[in-house]
Amino acid sequence: MARNPLKDQVAVVGVGSTAYGRDQQRSLLSLGVEAALKAMADAGIDRRGIDGICGSGMSPLAVGNAGFLSVQGALGIEKVTWGKNGWLGSAFVFAVEAVFSGLCDTCLVVQSYRREVNMSRSAARDPFRLRASRFGETGGMGGRDFARRWLHSGEPYAAWMKRYMHDYGVGKDAFGLMAVNNRSHGARNPDAVIQRAITLDDYHASRMVWEPMQMLDMDIPVDGAEAFVITTAERARDLRQKPVTVHAMSLGGTRVGEFYENTLPWTENAFWVAMEGLWARSDLTRTDVDLFYPYDGYTIDAVAVVEAAGFCKPGEAGDYFRDCWDRRENILRLNGGRTLVTTGGGGLAHGRSGGSNLYAEAVRQLRGSQGERQARHADSALITIGSMYHDPSAVLLRAGERR
């Protein structure tokens, strides 16, 4: 076991989401501020109760878009003793670290995403998006590739799908069934941008983009934001919401850094590092997980997370998914039927938000507040977000206070 002094010491006490939409014509800051205000209202605190902010964006600059200084200014928060930018799953992890360490007591996490000009032809034609794209840095690939013909991050992921299929002698059913699962959940989520379920045949018939990657392997670019309020488990007792406690976390990094060329073998990529780090710090094991949220920016990410988490052996996700398939609901049910995967629909159906909507959905499910969509078993949730190449996070959340 690795050390885990932060076990059950920090809690999520507020969550706020904007609507997701293909074309909201709003800035990242506007979306982020709306989500932040909703999260603070949900937690029952006002801006005077916030003393740390984790904003979104890859840029080390704190200003611009929804960077932490911009968020602080827009919300009129007088003083914070900690601030940082993050993205994907790491923003949440940074905030928990800051609260646990004592650099702040109550931290706001704000993650804003937009349908960017590099995501589709129609987005590239939109003057609003074009202008917005020139204002500040907000993510993307984090610097241009050395040999810069990977025009889009999808190309190296497509090449990795190809190598996975070659190495394990499999087709694309693992990717397809993950897409079907998420779209089935999206069809039950009134907030999802795409609420139409699909079949595996629909998946295979979808438009080829970067062979072998198809349209339905990719998340849906949208404008939207999520925010969270994170504080100590002790302080959470005095707040209005049932707390969701952070049980264990890990990030994952490998020596190849963020470059897409010199990737390590499949079972040595960064998801494996993050999952190994998480299990070494957790009292719970894979079979204790009630709700599982593997990042689905591309379906190959989600398949990698499933395998890295140890649900099946490398290369066997397709067979495993068939064994776990609920034919009536067209969804995955892991751990003997108890564990649902990506309720809410994730990036493939609800919309692309760098995985922040996976955290939001997990928190609401663990509170038991999802109404008709509420999962029967919702005591623990595993959320693994990021990229095979860089900064994945693995987080295990539990319902209620843990003493």
């Binding site: 090449a159 190598r163 060329e261």
Partner: protein, 145 residues
Amino acid sequence: MRDVVPFSPPAEVDFDAGTRPYWEALREGALSIQRCAHCHAFRTPPSRYCPHCRSTEDEWPRLSGRARLYTYTIVALDRRDAEGPVYVAGLACPEEAPDTKVFCNIVDCTLDQIVIDMPLELVATEAGTDAARFRPAPATAQGGR
């Protein structure tokens, strides 16, 4: 079958001190990647410090140009044209440095010739190209590991 075409001419290639030898070799029809002058480990993409021994001394040997195709993706020039030409982007492992992967463009072949682990050989490229171009090597050639 859909035609395989080279990458379209690039808008620009950014040279800097760290990557110049790679581009210069390509313009002279050769493949060169960075090797640590201290521990002699190859690495891609170029970096200041050797990840194995942290030396900053490097060298850029000219390689044979023979390689193995690690993986690839097929991309339509016009996504709305399902029958139109495509380009193939891939990762090649040079024979002399089989643990490194060089981003590349596969040319001079038909789509059905392209398979993972196939032997490749470097194709001389005109000035201004922005990636190493490879084509399938004759079956007798040894393509990396």
